[in-house]
Amino acid sequence: MSPAQAPVEARAIRVALPRGDLRAPVAERLRAANFIVQGYGEGSRSYRFEVDGIPGVQVRVFSDGDIPIQVALGHYDFGIASRMWIDELLVRFPHDSIVPLRRLDIEGETLVAAAAPGATLEGLAAGGVMRVATEYPNIAQHYLTRLRVPDYRLYEVWAQAEAWPPEDAELAIAPASAARREGLDILGEVHRGGVWLIANRAALASRDLSAALGPLVSLPGGSEQAGVVVPAPLVGVQRAVPRAGKPREAFRIAVPDGHAQRHTVASLAQAGIAFGGYEEGSAVRHPISGDPEVVVKVMRPQDMPRAVALGHFDLAMTGRDWLRTFTASFPAAPVVELCDLKRSKYRMGAVITEDLPVESIEEAVALWRKDDPDRPIRVASEYASLADEYARSRHLHQYRVIPISGASEGFVPEDAEILIEGTETGSTLRANRLRMIDVIMESTNCVIGAAERPPGRRGELRDRFVERLAAAAEAAES
């Protein structure tokens, strides 16, 4: 973590609050504590708020997972966030500048280690290299290290880690409720959640924050028992030998849920392909292909390039943006685009505030560094590896990539100079007084597969699917 920076706006007390599911319970408790943020609890689309009757306090709404980083950086003095995101930062960077002040009386999720029914941690650890899917790689590594698993591989996924076992990973470290829904056995607790009030250490030590601290510490509290769980170590488990496996015979296809599902269902329909249980607006984990040779699984499109590179799928329907993001991190990964499906079009690029009177990113950088040639340029993005690639290729000199998980339009200009973001029409950017100054890529949905065509029947099936989908996409466009 970079050293704390001075807050952009001098001396204002800045508070970071979560959006999403936590918004309503947090707003309710803030109101009861007379820390009234008009519009926050009502789900206003605005990112910034004032606090009634407390001048000099500014509130900004973030995705839950981004709040600890913002407080650690010193951009915000206080934050309210899930403990699992706080610890995801602190177990990796224990010397960081966050002080967890107190737990609030809002329930949080428990993270668990979960696997296929009947599995045990001892058996998985002794049976070969343990593949572990998780959204929380730092907490997972902390847990596995203390469990003394001799050899493991961590799959850092964007979401739905619980969907990976048993065929694509031995273990998932995921929220307990999600693991149960997926039908997995819970083998142990990894992290006990809760929602916490946190503060920046340097700000607490040096500035008068009492106007906000007073009401915030009067929020109703919960049990202090929370945080990472230290498991009893597995004793006597020797270093793993490679897991014996036979070549996969089934032809496996991954299709996305979420925003990309609508476009994928349409692309499949154009090609005359339908999977039972995978329609616009609804999806089961394992849709039915109608062909015993073809197995279909629903997963997040962000995680498909990795799953294909690992050899778990023969085809996956994702976005070119996610393929590009993955290969920016792992250029040697054996995954390629097989055909463009030409839907879900949007531009990905560098976004800055429209208030800046410049025509190029170079002019913008020169303006930001007018008074301080060594000023680091902050580049925020959900696509962190793309942001890093962009900053390198544009020779931004000193820069910091701020990985974020949402509420992205609120970052520029206060919390970042540049946002790497996608836009379909530009209307959301304009509504937030932003503009795209540099286009990195035009993204569409696409089919990806292994760089090397699979042998035998799987190769034949891959050719057939790609041919049909490509022909349908061409026909639809012409």
């Binding site: 177990v91 224990p94 010397h95 290299v129 593949r131 572990v132 590594q141 902390h142 596995l144 290290t145 203390r146 003394r148 698993v149 001799p150 050899d151 493991y152 591989r153 961590l154 799959y155 850092e156 009893a232 170590p233 597995l234 004793v235 006597g236 488990v237 020797q238 270093r239 390039p305 990795r306 590179a309 690992l310 993955f326 991190s329 792992f330 250029p331 040697a332 990964a333 060594d374």
Partner: protein, 335 residues
């Protein structure tokens, strides 16, 4: 004699930090490099005279080499520089070499398993530290495939000879034995899990572990107190330890033999030493004698025996022992 230069180490250390260098990383200017090379040459000459041939291992190693129980403790693993390589989509993390011994043991397992091998190295290790250096250049030796009784004494005397060749005088040696502590844990009835936990606590600097044991196992109190509260300076102390401990910790006999043998070798060579039997030294992989040499109040050399390491990381079982010195630490003692 060490080289002299107009730029002292202190002056070099006082170079302004303009924020262009990563935290914990340092440049070595001409004066420091001259000292570095002097120490490196002297070390390699002393090692070669003892039959130790130089090797070098890669800077980047797979993380899993260090994660099995019996290699690095969880606390040590929290401070490694681990990351995903450019081809790390499989989730296999790599590390900047956090420890030279494990890397050399991996090399031994791949190249020379089953034979007696004496090797020397000069290479850095990387560990996060809130203050101080995060890149530490080490010179060290490892001896594989040799029995404890002779190998431990050989390594102790090689360390002492190397320091003498560098002109570092008035050296003292601290001795301990990882097996002694573990035997005491086992005799006290700690389960395998509790033993691992207690040893990790000792590695983490928790001085209360042995005292806790004394409180909960009064039958072994005399031996444990001798172990934890008295530092011996002669072979006679080891005899006292044997008399007090063996009736309640019979499993300590082998460890006491090895400790007596090492103490005897130092006594015969006229090297002053302390037996601090109730301590644990820095790495979970130590299984036998552990030691350090200090001069002018600074630790110069540390090492020990790690008979289970080669097998733990996937090689054939082979006894091993070694030591390493922080080159810039030695330069500090010399200056």
């Amino acid at each position: 004699m060490p080289p002299t230069d107009s730029l002292t180490a202190m002056e070099a250390d006082a170079m302004p930090d303009r924020g262009l260098r990563s935290s914990g990383m340092r440049d070595l200017g001409p004066a420091e490099m001259a000292r570095f090379r002097h120490i490196e040459r002297t070390f390699l000459e002393a090692a070669a005279a003892g039959g130790y041939r130089e090797i070098r291992t890669p800077t980047i190693e797979p993380l899993h080499l260090f994660t099995a129980a019996g290699t690095l403790s969880p606390q040590a693993l929290d401070r490694v520089y681990s990351f995903l390589d450019w081809d790390g989509w499989s989730g296999e993390r790599v590390v900047l070499r956090p420890d030279a011994t494990v890397a050399v043991a991996r090399w031994y397992g791949e190249q020379s398993a089953g034979t007696e091998q004496r090797v020397a190295y000069v290479q850095p290790v990387y560990r996060f530290a809130p203050e101080g250096d995060r890149e530490v250049w080490q010179c060290g030796v490892e001896l594989f495939g040799a029995a404890a009784a002779t190998a431990d004494a050989e390594l102790l005397l090689l360390a002492h000879d190397t320091l003498s060749a560098l002109g570092i005088e008035q050296v003292t040696c601290d001795l301990a034995h990882a097996g002694l502590v573990r035997a005491a844990f086992a005799a006290a009835g700690l389960s395998a899990t509790e033993q691992l936990d207690a040893y990790d606590r000792m590695l983490d600097g928790d001085a209360g572990v042995t005292a806790d044991l004394v409180a909960t196992h009064p039958r072994g109190a005399a031996g444990l107190r001798l172990l934890s509260e008295v530092d011996g300076t002669t072979v006679g102390y080891v005899a006292n330890l044997r008399a007090a401990m063996l009736p309640v910790v019979p499993g300590a006999a082998g460890a006491l033999d090895e400790l007596a043998s090492a103490a005897g070798a130092l006594e015969a060579a006229g090297v002053p030493f302390h037996v601090r039997a109730g301590t644990a030294r820095s790495f979970e992989y130590y299984s036998g004698l552990t030691f350090s040499f200090s001069a002018a109040g600074r630790e110069c050399v540390s090492g020990g025996r790690y008979d289970g390491l080669a097998e733990t990381i996937g090689g054939l079982a082979a006894p091993g022992c070694g030591w390493a010195a922080d080159i810039l630490g030695l330069a500090g003692v010399l200056s």
